[in-house]
Subunit: 144 residues, 2 copies
Amino acid sequence: MADKLRQQLTAFEDACRKSGLRLTPQRLEIFRELAKVSDHPSAETLHQRLINRLPTLSLDTVYRTLGTFAEHGLVNKVDTIESQARFEVAQLLHHHLICRKCKKIIDFHWQFIDDALLPEEVHAWGRIERKNVVAYGICQQCLT
Amino acid sequence: MADKLRQQLTAFEDACRKSGLRLTPQRLEIFRELAKVSDHPSAETLHQRLINRLPTLSLDTVYRTLGTFAEHGLVNKVDTIESQARFEVAQLLHHHLICRKCKKIIDFHWQFIDDALLPEEVHAWGRIERKNVVAYGICQQCLT
DNA sequence: CTAGCTGCAAAAGATTTGCATGTCC
DNA sequence: GGACATGCAAATCTTTTGCAGCTAG
């Protein structure tokens, strides 16, 4: 698990150099935090989680940084039904479960879909870069 | 095509009665407009399109109405990467293509997925109500 | 050194809310 | 008649921007 994190961080640093992005403490911490967790935090949430480690970190830097990362494909802005945007470290081949009550987003894997070919009409539309299944429902905790 | 619209409107009126929602001109027009188009408009866009027909319609009524409809499952708030929320009449079994450049959302069908069973781990999570594939890429117009 | 980042504060944009009035059932 | 909806205006929440100082490369 720690290996995966280290690997993600190395890939991140490489990607930054390749894109000409500077490696600042803020960027490193924001990425590291996002790579560490799996709960798809919002900019606001990330900021709160990092403010202890980087006391001067401003919320707008978090927004700007996440925007920059997303532009360079390092993180994904996750689709949600809420008004606040959520983020995750870009990883191909994973899908989302969203509880329409508590709004929690959980990842799941579904190789069947990853391997499936999209219908012909879709290829006529343009160039597909990734596909993601979003399943909506109510999670166990909210059901009881 | 017109038949489909009429059928949707009838279903809508029934659903309203069933949920104890009042049938006001605003609600009817908002739903009708949304059922007529396929471009997943935002509340703002819907308001602009309806202001001719309902000159006193206020933007906040559009927001409130869409929120109410969404609560009752009559429309879906569509996942997007943008800050503005988009809406569509609730229809099962359809999927989305999103162009990461022009942000246009296009529907497509993929029966293969509609028929597929979700992996076991997902069923442990809770009760799934619907699943939707979102494919990201760049559309033809933006590619050229 | 200097282009690119950051923090601050203020602006802009999206959505929600309180309240008085109007209207569907 | 009464509960529910609407319109207006103001508030709130989220995200973006301008600018001056700071810093990684």
